[in-house]
C-alpha cells in the first residue's frame, strides 16, 4: 500500500527490506520497515531527529544488524554481511576524511585497499576528481586545508572510487551554509544522473529531499509513514504528520453533517469536503489546505468553501507573500495562512476584513 509504482514499468528492486526492526536495550529505534529500493533511483528518507533514520541507514550500510527482518541486495540476504564486504558505501555526516592523507590519497584509498597499483590508482583518482569538479592540482593538497564544499567533493569521489552499487548519505550537507548547500544539492542530483548509481539519502530537511529525490520516504517514530514521489508526498500526504512535515498547512477539524456537507468543529462554517483518498468512511476528519491553494474572494467570486476573517500580519517570502488571517472568535479563534504571488497581493490600504475561499479538490481529507 505504501509503495507507489509508476504506470507501466516496475524495475526489480536492488535493495529490499522486509519487516526490518532494530531494538536497543528495550527501545525500538526502527520498527517493522518494508521497502523496495529500485535500481538507479534517488531515494531520500526524511524524518525528524530520533525517527530512526540513521539507525536504518547504519543497518543498510552494515554497521548495525537488524534485530528482526531481512535486508536483501539483488536477492541475497545481507543482514550480517560486514561493511567491508558489502558493495555499498556510506558518506558520513562528518565526511570522515582521513586527515593524515592528501586529497588524492583519500580518493584513491579504496583502490589501495583493493591492491590496485599506484599508477592506476592515481589515474582513477584524477578521473574522479574531474567528475566531482575538483581541480587537478588538488591531488597533493592537505585534505584538512580544503573548504567545506571541497571536502564534500572529496568524500563523494572517495565513495565513487569504491565503485559501490548503492551509495548512502547521512545528511552530509547539513553543516554547510544555505547557498553552498543549494548548489551541492543540484550537483549531487546531476552526479546521480551521470553515474546511474542507486542513492539513498537521509536528511531531516524535506526541502533537501524535494529538490533531489525520485522518491521520498517519510519516517516517524521508527516507522516509514509514507513512500512516494515528491509530488505524491506533497499533494497526497497520508496523515497530518506528513502534511505538516512537508510544509505549512491550514487544518480544519470537521464533523460529518446530515446533508452531505461537513460542519466545522474548530472553525464555524459548513464545508464541502473531498472524500478521503484511502476511501475510508469517517465521521470526523481533518481538512488540510496548503496556504498557496487558499485565495481571497472579491465580490462576485465563487468558491466551494469560504471563511470570513481579518488580515493581521503579512510576510514577504521574496516572490510570494504570506498573510496571516484570524478567523472565528473567542475560544474558537484560529489563524489561517494564505500565500499569494506578489502580483496578486492585496493592494495597500485594502480592507483588512477578507473572505477566504478554496475548492474541495484543492484540499485533502485525512483521518488522523
Amino acid at each position: 500500500m505504501l509503495q507507489t509504482t509508476p504506470a507501466g514499468d516496475t524495475p526489480k528492486p536492488i535493495l529490499q527490506l522486509v519487516g526490518v526492526r532494530k531494538t536497543f536495550g528495550g527501545f525500538n529505534a526502527v520498527e517493522g520497515i518494508d521497502l523496495d529500493v529500485r535500481e538507479g533511483e534517488f531515494l531520500t528518507i526524511v524524518g525528524p531527529s530520533g525517527s530512526g533514520k540513521t539507525t536504518l541507514l547504519r543497518m543498510l550500510a552494515g554497521m548495525d544488524t537488524p534485530t528482526e527482518g531481512n535486508i536483501t541486495l539483488h536477492g541475497e540476504l545481507i543482514n550480517d554481511m560486514p561493511p567491508n564486504k558489502r558493495p555499498t558505501c556510506l558518506v558520513f555526516q562528518s565526511l570522515a576524511l582521513f586527515p593524515h592523507k592528501s586529497v588524492g590519497e583519500n580518493i584513491a584509498f579504496p583502490l589501495k585497499v583493493k591492491g590496485v597499483d599506484a599508477a592506476t590508482r592515481k589515474a582513477r583518482a584524477l578521473e574522479l576528481m574531474r567528475v566531482v569538479r575538483l581541480p587537478e592540482n588538488y591531488y597533493d593538497k592537505n585534505v584538512m586545508k580544503c573548504s567545506g564544499g571541497e571536502r564534500q567533493r572529496v568524500a563523494l569521489a572517495r565513495a565513487f572510487a569504491y565503485d559501490p552499487q548503492v551509495l548512502f548519505f547521512d545528511e552530509p550537507l547539513s553543516a554547510l551554509d544555505y547557498k553552498l548547500k543549494k548548489a551541492l544539492e543540484k550537483e549531487l542530483k546531476d552526479l546521480h544522473r551521470e553515474t546511474g548509481k542507486t542513492f539513498i539519502y537521509i536528511t531531516h530537511s524535506l526541502e533537501e529531499a524535494m529538490v533531489m529525490s525520485d522518491r521520498i520516504g517519510v519516517m516517524r517514530a521508527g516507522r516509514l509513514v509514507q513512500v512516494g514521489t515528491p509530488e505524491e508526498i506533497y499533494g497526497a500526504p497520508v496523515d497530518r504528520f506528513v502534511s505538516e512535515f512537508v510544509g505549512e498547512v491550514n487544518t480544519i477539524k470537521v464533523k460529518r453533517g446530515t446533508d452531505g456537507t461537513w460542519d466545522g468543529v474548530d472553525v464555524p462554517g459548513r464545508f464541502t469536503v473531498r472524500p478521503p483518498q484511502d476511501g475510508a468512511t469517517l465521521d470526523e476528519a481533518f481538512v488540510v489546505i496548503r496556504p498557496e491553494y487558499m485565495r481571497f474572494l472579491g465580490p462576485g467570486d465563487t468558491a466551494e468553501n469560504r471563511i470570513e476573517g481579518t488580515v493581521y500580519n503579512e510576510y514577504s517570502l521574496g516572490s510570494r507573500i504570506q498573510y496571516q488571517i484570524r478567523v472565528g472568535s473567542g475560544a474558537g479563534e484560529k489563524v489561517m495562512l494564505v500565500e499569494l504571488s506578489r502580483s496578486r497581493a492585496l493592494p495597500p490600504g485594502a480592507d483588512r476584513a477578507v473572505t477566504l475561499g478554496w475548492d474541495a479538490a484543492d484540499a485533502f481529507t485525512l483521518g488522523s
Binding site: A61, P82, N84, L90, F92, A96, F98, H100, K112, K114
Partner: protein
C-alpha cells in the same frame, strides 16, 4: 610606570624559579669537574679525570646497560599494553568502563616505596628471584597507567567515524589499524614512549626493591652517596641527566613533526 615595575617583578620571579630549579643540577655538574676526591665548594682545581674514569669503569658500563635495557623493555611493553588500554579506555563503551578508568589511574598515586616493597613481598611469596627482569615488571605497574593516560588523550581527539569509514571502504580490521588508527595515534604513542623511557630511566624507589643483585643508575648513585663517594657520582648523574635531556629534545622535535604531519 606601574606597568614596567610589574613586568620587572614578573621577570625577577621567573628568573628566581629557574635558578632554584636548575642551580642544583649545575652544582652537580660542577662537582663532577672537581679534581679533589672529596666534595666541597669552592672548587680549587678543575679536571675532567672523573668523567674519564666514569666512562672507563666496567662496573658503570654494566649499570648503564642494565638501565637502558630495563627502560627499553618497559617502553616497548608499556606502549603496547597502554595503546590497547587507551582504546578500551576512551573509545569503546562497555560495562565497568568507569571503574576501569579509575582503577588504572590509581597506581600513579601509590607511594612508590610502598609499591616497591609490596612488589618485593609479592615476588618472594610466589618464589620469583628478583633481578632486572622483575624491575621491568615493577616499573610497568607504575608507568603503564601514565602512558595509558597520555595515549588516551590522543584517542579522545579522533573521530571514530574514520575507522568506520575505512572499514566501509573495504579495509579488513588489520588494514584499519595500519591505515587509520595507528597513523592517527602516532603522536600520542610517541609521547607515551618518551614518558615510559624517561620515567623508567630515572626511577629509584621501585628499582631499589625489585632489581635484586642488579643495579640501575639511580640505585648506584644512591649507594655511592651512602658509602664510597667519588666525583664519579655527580659525573654519572650529570651524564644521565644530559642523556635524558637530549632524548627529550630529539624526541620532542620528532613528535612535533609527527603531530604536524598528522594534524596540519
Amino acid at each position: 610606570m606601574k606597568h614596567t615595575r610589574t613586568n620587572a617583578l614578573i621577570w625577577i620571579w621567573t628568573l628566581l624559579v629557574i635558578v632554584v630549579i636548575y642551580l642544583p643540577i649545575l652544582c652537580g655538574a660542577l662537582a663532577s669537574f672537581n679534581k679533589s676526591r672529596y666534595f666541597g665548594f669552592p672548587i680549587k682545581i678543575y679536571a675532567t679525570e672523573w668523567w674519564q674514569k666514569t666512562l672507563d669503569s666496567i662496573e658503570i658500563g654494566m649499570i648503564v646497560k642494565t638501565s637502558i635495557l630495563v627502560a627499553l623493555l618497559v617502553t616497548v611493553f608499556s606502549v603496547v599494553i597502554a595503546t590497547c588500554g587507551a582504546l578500551a579506555f576512551a573509545r569503546y563503551d562497555w560495562k565497568g568502563r568507569r571503574l576501569f578508568q579509575k582503577l588504572i589511574i590509581l597506581p600513579i598515586f601509590f607511594p612508590q616505596p610502598v609499591l616497591g616493597l609490596a612488589l618485593l613481598l609479592g615476588f618472594n611469596a610466589v618464589g620469583i628471584q628478583t633481578s632486572w627482569m622483575t624491575a621491568v615488571f615493577a616499573h610497568m605497574v607504575w608507568i603503564v597507567p601514565v602512558v595509558t593516560l597520555v595515549i588516551a588523550i590522543q584517542v579522545y581527539g579522533f573521530d571514530p567515524a574514520l575507522e568506520e569509514a575505512a572499514f566501509d571502504l573495504g579495509c579488513s580490521r588489520i588494514q584499519v589499524l595500519r591505515e587509520v588508527t595507528l597513523p592517527l595515534l602516532w603522536p600520542g604513542i610517541w609521547s607515551g614512549m618518551l614518558f615510559a623511557f624517561l620515567l623508567s630511566w630515572s626511577n629509584f624507589p621501585l628499582s631499589l626493591y625489585t632489581t635484586g643483585a642488579d643495579s640501575t643508575i639511580p640505585e648506584w648513585l644512591y649507594a655511592k652517596m651512602v658509602a664510597g663517594y667519588t666525583p664519579m657520582v655527580p659525573a654519572l648523574g650529570t651524564m644521565a641527566t644530559l642523556a635524558a635531556a637530549v632524548l627529550l629534545l630529539v624526541g620532542g622535535l620528532a613528535g612535533m613533526l609527527l603531530r604536524r604531519r598528522a594534524a596540519a
